[in-house]
Each structure stands twice: as C-alpha cells, then as structure tokens.
Symmetry: none
Subunit: 152 residues, 2 copies
C-alpha cells in the first residue's frame, strides 16, 4: 500500500471517529501518528476521499458519507468494503472492524453469508463489527482479506 493510500485510510478513520474541525487540526493528529504532511496535501486528500465539511452546533466538523448514501443493495464484501470500511484491529482470534456510520450491519451480513470456515460468526454494532475467528491463523487470513479489499 502506498504512503498516500495508507495515509488516506488513517484520515478516513480519524475523521469518522473524532471531531476534526480543520485540516490543520487533522495535520496535527496525523503528525502525532507519524504522518508528516502539509495542509496542502490534506486538502487534496479530503477531496479525493470526498470528506464533507458540515456545520455543527458550535463550529464545523469533517465527516465521511454514511452507509445509507453509499449502499445501494450491493451485498458482496468486495463492493461493500471499499465504501464502508475504515480500519481494523485485532487481539487473539477476534477482529474489530471499524466502519462508517451504519456500515457495520451490511458488512457483517456479507461476511456471515460467505460462510467461511475461518469465521465462527460476527456481531455488528453501529459502526463496529466483532468477528470471531476459529484460530489465530484464521484471523490472519480474514484480516488480510479485508485489508486487501479495502484498498480497492
């Protein structure tokens, strides 16, 4: 994955999980995580990612489109993940997938319907999915697959 793609993935997650209100603020959050770029680059990233700037009660906030806008009856993981996936993390045989708002349910269903022997089952919240895998090795395969799909 190129630097740019990785960075943009991190941006998607940051913007979805925190209340980022300027590109300069985002630049600092990225810097704390080791990504050193200028505001110019972020302006371009935000455009690439179609991250919207929406007014909130006392200011503004960046946000990604939610699942309702991105999903039109598509059900395969391959078509869902690039749109809805924000990031994942894991411990032992558990994977936690972060998604855009309302993105957990459709992805979760898509995973379940694949009936993979690696996956015991999934539980979806609002924007998190818990995937219970059969083993550490299984977890590795599942995580890798998702990450691959995520970068279109």
């Amino acid at each position: 994955m190129s630097q740019k793609q990785e960075r943009q993935q991190v941006i998607r997650e940051l913007v979805a999980t925190r209340s980022v209100s300027s590109q300069e603020e985002l630049r600092q959050l990225l810097a704390e995580r080791g990504w050193d770029v200028t505001q110019s680059t972020l302006s371009r990233d935000m455009h690439d990612l179609r991250v919207a700037r929406v007014p909130t009660h006392g200011g503004v906030r960046y946000t990604t489109a939610d699942a309702s806008a991105a999903t039109d009856n598509r059900t395969s993981l391959a078509s869902l993940v690039p749109q809805l996936f924000l990031g994942l993390d894991f411990v032992r045989e558990l994977i936690v997938v972060k998604t855009v708002v309302a993105g957990a349910q459709p992805i979760s269903e898509a995973i379940d319907s694949e009936g993979s022997p690696d996956v015991l089952g999934t539980i979806a919240g609002e924007n998190n999915i818990l995937i219970i895998c059969r083993s550490d090795a299984a977890r590795e395969r599942v995580a890798k697959r998702l990450l691959t799909l995520a970068r279109k």
Copy 2:
C-alpha cells in the same frame, strides 16, 4: 415569516436544485431573485441550515446534510457513566458493561469516540456493552477507569 426565514428557505431550494459551489455564487443567485445580502450573512445562513460543503469530481458543492452528520451529540464518558453505569465484569481482554436500559448505546459511542489505543472497539446491545481491549493490561486500565468514573 421574517426576511431571514424566507431567505433561508430560498437557499434550501437553491442548494437542493442547483450545483452551488461557493457562497459568492449563492449570493449572486439570490441577488437575481431580489435578495441582497453579503457573503457574511450567507456564511451564517449556511451554518444555521447545516448545509454541508462536499467535494465532488471537479470541485465542491453545497448540500443539505442529513441529521446524523450534523449532530455532534458526543457526550463525555465522565458525564454519562455516573448516570447509566450499573456494573462490569471481564475475562481476558473483554469487558462486559451492564447499564440501565438503553444506556449501552450512548456509553458505547462515548468510548469509541475517545479513540483510546487500549480499546479496539465496542459493541452495544440494549443494556450490555462488550468492550474489546488490546491486551490484559489495557483491559485493566479501561475497567479501572470506568469504575472510577462510576463512583463520582
């Protein structure tokens, strides 16, 4: 209906039906229709109306945001927990939190939005939350924090 309200209604329609890409452009559209205001006022109107600025293929356009995007009702754990928390239990890197009815969702969101590295993610049911932590040590910290907040 006040001038302001009428104007904002017109703005809603304009923004919904045309591709407006700057407040200055909007100002001109309004001027053609007899509304003479400065861009400053439009900035305030856009905020009142929660009109989002979203990047498109070759530029940006304004669009009315849906409620979820504009709402910034992220409340702090510190204020939520004393009200809603009932107790917790854990095993390995998992914590199960019991809350009052309907208390799981808000606490869950508050935890997620903190973006703690100790927490991989949370899944909320009606009055139970599953918190997936990064490690046993992380689980200890998170549990301790919740218990501390609970007795304030």
